[in-house]
Symmetry: C2
Subunit: 232 residues, 2 copies
DNA sequence: ACAAAAGTGTTGGGCTTACACCCATGG
DNA sequence: CCATGGGTGTAAGCCCAACACTTTTGT
């Protein structure tokens, strides 16, 4: 191959999750640890350099695993960022991914070498390294859009959940409250929910009935699109 | 910067246009000319290697200009392709763009050095180099999707056009025919069209009235989204 | 008995669809 | 005068949005 200029290439992964109470949308960030590296001590989206002949998505999952031990249940390519000057170290192009993880697999820990990883609420973020604020904003926009035409609950909720949980997912992501009756009617009409026998107990109020997703119907819906726009 | 592996990075641009009669959706392809290069003589999406510290979109526009003299009126990043083995020459990552050009600026010519450039109808494509068939398929899918929630006529039609022209754009891209009355009602309701005084003459049938886009209203609509789904 | 969350139906309005005929010009 | 494409209106049905009270449990 002719001797063309070769930039460095990284993959970065914006991981979204919901907190236990499904009350807030969170992003997984790492604290840049290694002394002497760029943006030392700054918070950043997890990611790193791709290896020789490594597939991009594979690299994204690898970096995520190495830095946070997270295994996302969904991942998609977001966009590629290559503005000159975005990395003070030189010409670095970043292929960004967006990922979702389930509430019940939020067991996150940092890397061995002093790197810290934790969840941040999307509306109280720290300053971010590089152009990561821009990347994150892009991811958030994408998620808010995606939610309107593809189902998204399966990748964010535990296996078994209540309709109120699901409604809270949408309210949290869209940042507005939805009408309970209209929400339920609409969700049920898609036929992707099957009732789980058990009932949740112990909480105040009438015990809710539990559901799980019908995986096949869910994936069919994912293909064809949803048109999910529910009223305030 | 530490000595990480560096792949080569290319940008490739899938350019869509409509033919004069607005009757077919076309893609601009180039014939790979230089002897001794990979896929010599094969048709391919225009593109090439990025230069040092060059912005990705700038590189995309530059390659397009160099290879086809086309200046798209719209361009957006599509996706990045990095599957190992996609380029026989080694580890090459391609950032793909999708672009639209207006009918009346279709003056295309190949590069100086024997490279040929021409339009191909999207449903009669030649074999393509690398994974360009996959990239093109992705672009086509994106365009067909985009059309449903963003206006697209401004970037494909000449400055002045008829409602029938516009309808044909949608029919061509979506690949299905639409109801004339419903189409007109819907389009007019967006308030992005202003009537151009003149009338087209010379063709058989009643002379149509001409319109142009109200740029401001158009761009506002582009922001907020359109919800454009018209019936067969 | 009270607080807390779950669950449940109906109605009006607006938008979408389906559909067929006349109009203005060129040849 | 005829062929060609341009232009126009209406009625039926569906889906969406708005809205308030009853049920079931824990304390």
């Amino acid at each position: 191959m002719p001797n063309y200029h070769r930039p460095s290439v990284t993959v970065d992964v914006v991981v979204f999750g919901l907190d236990d109470s499904v009350g807030a949308l969170k992003v997984l960030l790492i604290k840049r640890g290694r002394p002497g590296t760029a943006f030392e001590g700054c918070w950043a989206i997890p990611g790193g350099f791709i290896e020789k002949d490594e597939d991009l998505e594979v690299a994204a999952r690898r970096e995520l695993r190495e830095e946070t031990h997270a295994e996302p249940s969904y991942i998609e390519q977001l966009a590629t960022f290559g503005r000159p000057g975005r990395d003070p170290r030189g010409h670095v192009i970043s292929v960004a991914y967006m990922a979702l993880v389930r509430c019940d697999s939020l067991v996150i820990q940092g890397d061995d070498d002093a790197k810290e990883a934790r969840w941040w609420s999307v509306d109280h973020l720290p300053d971010l390294a590089f152009d990561h604020a821009e990347i994150l904003a892009t991811a958030l926009k994408r998620l808010r859009n995606k939610v309107r035409w593809q189902p998204v609950g399966l990748d964010l909720l535990p296996l078994v959940f209540t309709l109120s949980d699901l409604q809270r997912v949408y309210e949290t992501i869209l940042g507005k409250s939805l009408d309970k009756r209209n929400f339920r009617r609409k969700v049920m009409s898609y036929g992707v929910l099957v009732s789980a026998e058990s009932m949740r107990v112990g909480s105040p109020g009438r015990p809710p009935s539990l559901f799980r997703f019908d995986r096949e119907a869910y994936e069919a819906l994912q293909e064809e699109g949803v048109e999910f726009e529910v009223t305030a």
